[in-house]
């Protein structure tokens, strides 16, 4: 260890690394290979896009790696770029590890050259070197290190080649005194840099960053550097020098944009580096594998049908395979509830635990298999490179409705469950596009609404028609969503269209380990977050439907039940009791109170209550209807008697209006909480509430009246 290391002896063995790179360079995979063993993955709260932190030990060092979102440049165009750029300039870390894709060195170096004027030590990981060799690309790491003044290590996250070398280089860099990076510009720029440096020298300006870096940052209009110097007395004169310098540089590059001038400077520097260190052995093949796959997958005619087929397949898998473990999970929670219930003697507490918490949480866990399959599908879409293709295929169509090509992933996810859908809307760069997509996701009918649809389709249509009705409900939901998007785009989210400029990454075989890791992390988040909210909501519904207790009512029925002669009569009385108890519960009061609002749609108070309990979760709608139509709690969508009761008690037109409301209004409490967090404020929740309620009410009113006319 050298004596001039500035770090405090206690933290000397801690190395905090900021992992930076362009998208699709295999950063996450590299992290997985470096920190082989058990990963500690935590998500930073409060940011829209995740930075992931990974800890591991090697030799005598503790490593903390902060995996920053992939970014093409540091100009804060997208949320990811902003997160990365803020982190690099404001947070405390020891060094930057810049991951570059060896098979596309020149483009990757564009970011590298920007990173070189950040005041930090740096190591470059030349990732995918195995792939580069296959493509006949030969990079001299040592020569590159020499030219840039930065150690460049050839690694492959896939074959784990060079991983140890990379960690050793990081340790060496960490222990070394800071080395000046060798970034060389054209004569015109160098001249201006010299002038600024000279000025700073003369006035003995104090800063941790080198004068050269400060000069570069000032010349390319770096906001943070400007802000830093702005209040310094030297600023007055410095400003004049900078104005002259900009003019000179812009003139030299024949542009009116100094950033564009610097981009050209970086590009020519990088071309120089690549020409020196990279040797292409083989002839570049005319048609790469990616070209061949693209000829099929984004074919002008077949591209969209192929995509639709793949999506159909994913949904088939999600529902068909996801159903298999459902029965066991359901059985387990039934058994678990009974077992736990048997140990609790207090009736109220037992009911809260068994009927409230266990059944509520059980309902969420029931959907875990479906959600995992969907997550695997989405992870595959993401990691193979196909997702960008679909965005390319759909952008034209989506654009007509004011949506962005990349909106399709959250919308498709919305058919499974709105919660992961809201979370996956993060892939959209632009806030307005993201918000618009978030508002539309609810229109994609989630899995939890299926039981309600099945119930009503079965009650009013013959068995062979019911399936088609289901399909119509789903499709019309999606179409209403697209129209709603158009309306929102023309009103609330009016504005310039977000440009669609997107990289189409090379096709790659996904890594099993990485997919597993991603799916497990997401599933765990779903369980933890949705589980807690659902548990809370279940407790609330349980409370509202059980209180206030009416003991005299219970006692009078109890004696009637005891006196009843047949089992049949007993169960009838039991049902009547629960119905009357429910009617005088808080929920019943709310139902009667809100009746006038729902009367124009043809709903009775029971349907009104079912809609309101449905705000907690859509699964609750069916069980509420069951309870209210006096069939006891043991009702599911297959219950034929409930179907019969519904077709007897509810007029067809009211049923149509009811379905329309279910299709459009808020998905559930948990989803609303996630929506609020993703949208970035409670006010958006109220906008969503107003928007969906008005749309649901209006459309249901229209549907009710049309249905009245037809019947």
């Amino acid at each position: 260890m050298t004596t001039d290391v500035k770090t405090c002896p206690i933290t000397a063995n801690h190395i905090k690394i900021a992992l930076v790179g362009q998208p699709n360079v295999g950063k996450s995979m590299l992290i997985n290979s470096v920190s082989n063993a058990h990963l500690h993955v935590g998500n930073f709260s409060g940011v829209t896009v995740d930075k992931t932190e990974v800890l591991f030990d090697y030799k005598n060092y503790h490593f903390t790696v902060v995996d920053l979102p992939g970014t093409y440049a540091l100009n804060e165009y997208t949320i990811e770029e902003k997160v990365t750029s803020d982190y690099l300039s404001e947070y405390d870390y020891d060094l930057i590890v810049n991951v570059v894709d060896s098979t596309n060195l020149e483009k990757n170096l564009q970011l590298t050259s920007e990173l070189m004027s950040v005041d930090k030590k740096m190591v470059i990981a030349l990732n995918m070197s195995d792939e580069a060799v296959k493509e006949g690309i030969n990079i001299s790491g040592s020569y590159m290190s020499q030219l840039l003044g930065i150690s460049c290590v050839k690694v492959s996250a896939v074959t784990k080649e060079g991983i140890a070398d990379l960690i050793d280089a990081i340790i060496e860099e960490f222990e070394a005194t800071s080395v000046e990076h060798k970034l060389i510009f054209s004569e015109a720029v160098e001249e201006e840099i010299f002038k600024v440096v000279d000025y700073l020298l003369k006035h003995k300006y104090k800063d941790s960053n080198s004068y050269r870096n400060i000069a570069i940052n000032l010349l390319k209009n770096n906001k943070t550097t400007y802000a830093k110097l702005h209040d310094n007395p030297i600023w007055t004169e410095l400003q004049l020098i900078l104005i002259e310098a900009s003019k000179h540089i812009e003139l030299h590059h024949d542009t009116d944009d100094v950033k564009e001038a610097f981009a050209s400077e970086y590009a020519s520097f990088n071309r120089g580096i690549v020409a020196e260190v990279l040797k292409q052995d083989k002839e570049i093949k005319k048609k790469t594998l990616t070209d061949k796959i693209d000829n099929v997958l984004i074919h002008q005619l077949f591209g969209i049908p192929i995509f639709l087929f793949l999506m159909w397949g994913l949904f088939q898998l999600t529902f068909e395979v996801g159903v298999i473990p459902m029965e066991y999970i359901d059985g387990f929670f039934g058994w678990f509830g009974d077992t736990v219930g048997a140990t609790i003697s207090n009736e109220d507490i037992r009911s809260l635990v068994v009927d409230g918490i266990i059944s509520g949480v059980g309902a969420v866990i029931l959907f875990v298999p479906n959600i995992m399959i969907l997550f695997v599908g989405i992870a595959l879409l993401e990691s193979t490179g196909y997702m960008a293709r679909v965005a390319f295929l759909l952008d034209g169509f989506f654009h007509k409705f004011g949506l962005h090509g990349q909106s399709f992933i959250p919308l498709v996810t919305g058919f499974g469950c709105s919660i992961p859908a809201y979370m996956s809307a993060r892939i959209l760069k632009n806030d307005r596009d993201r918000l618009l997509t978030l508002f539309i996701i609810g229109f994609m009918s989630c899995g939890a609404r299926l039981p309600v649809y099945v119930l009503f389709a079965g009650a009013f249509f013959s068995e062979d028609m019911a399936g088609n009705i289901l399909f119509i409900i789903y499709i019309s939901g999606a179409l209403i969503g697209l129209i709603a998007a158009k309306i929102l785009k023309l009103t609330a989210f009016k504005g310039v269209d977000e440009p669609f400029v997107m990289e189409m990454p090379k096709y790659r075989l996904p890594s099993f380990k990485l997919i597993w890791h991603t799916v497990m992390t997401k599933t765990w988040m779903y369980l933890r977050k949705a589980g807690t909210y659902i548990a809370a909501a279940s407790m609330l519904v349980w409370f509202l439907s059980n209180y206030p207790h009416n003991l005299s009512l219970q006692e009078s029925y109890q004696s009637k039940i005891e006196r009843a002669l047949s089992e049949d009569e007993k169960s009838k009385l039991q049902n009547k009791l629960s119905q009357e108890l429910l009617e005088q519960s808080y929920l019943g009061t709310i139902g009667r109170f809100s009746m006038p609002i729902f009367e124009p749609l043809g709903f009775d108070w029971k349907m009104s209550v079912a809609l309101q309990t449905g705000l907690a979760a859509k699964e609750v709608v069916v069980s509420t209807l069951g309870v209210l139509y006096s069939l006891g709690n043991d009702v599911n969508e297959e219950s034929n008697s409930l179907i019969a009761t519904i077709s007897k008690n509810i007029p067809f037109a009211s049923a149509v209006a009811f379905i329309v409301v279910i299709m459009i209004y808020l998905p559930c409490l948990a989803a609303s909480v996630v929506f609020t967090r993703e949208a970035g404020g409670i006010k958006y929740f109220f906008y969503l509430l107003a928007f969906t309620s008005i749309a649901a009410y209006g459309l249901a009113f229209i549907a009710y009246n049309i249905a009245l006319m037809l019947t």
């Binding site: 100009n75 483009k107 050209s264 693209d294 090509g405 669609f500 400029v501 990289e503 990454p505």
Partner: protein, 84 residues
């Protein structure tokens, strides 16, 4: 070099046909989009190959260096190119 080219050869990128190879002369995009294009390697003097159009012709795929990029015709119209 750009002042020597025949004016009739200068086109918008959005007007180019499949498999055309062109050189960028000027980016007429607003500052933010220009930065975005630059960060993808689309800048003055870059060589672009037009790969594909989507079904509706609204979106095109181009290749700059080794990078494939998708962009809307609307944005491509802001890129002035000359056919090579």
């Amino acid at each position: 070099m750009s002042n020597k080219t025949d004016a009739s050869e200068i086109n918008k990128l959005s007007d180019c046909k499949k498999s055309h190879v062109v050189k960028v002369l000027k980016l007429n995009a607003p500052s933010e989009l220009k930065q975005r294009l630059i960060s993808f390697g689309i800048m003055k003097e870059s060589i672009i190959e037009v790969l594909k159009y989507s079904t509706s012709k609204n979106t095109m795929e181009i290749k700059v260096g080794k990078t494939r990029i998708a962009l809307r015709a609307q944005e491509a119209a802001l890129i002035e190119v000359v056919k090579l």
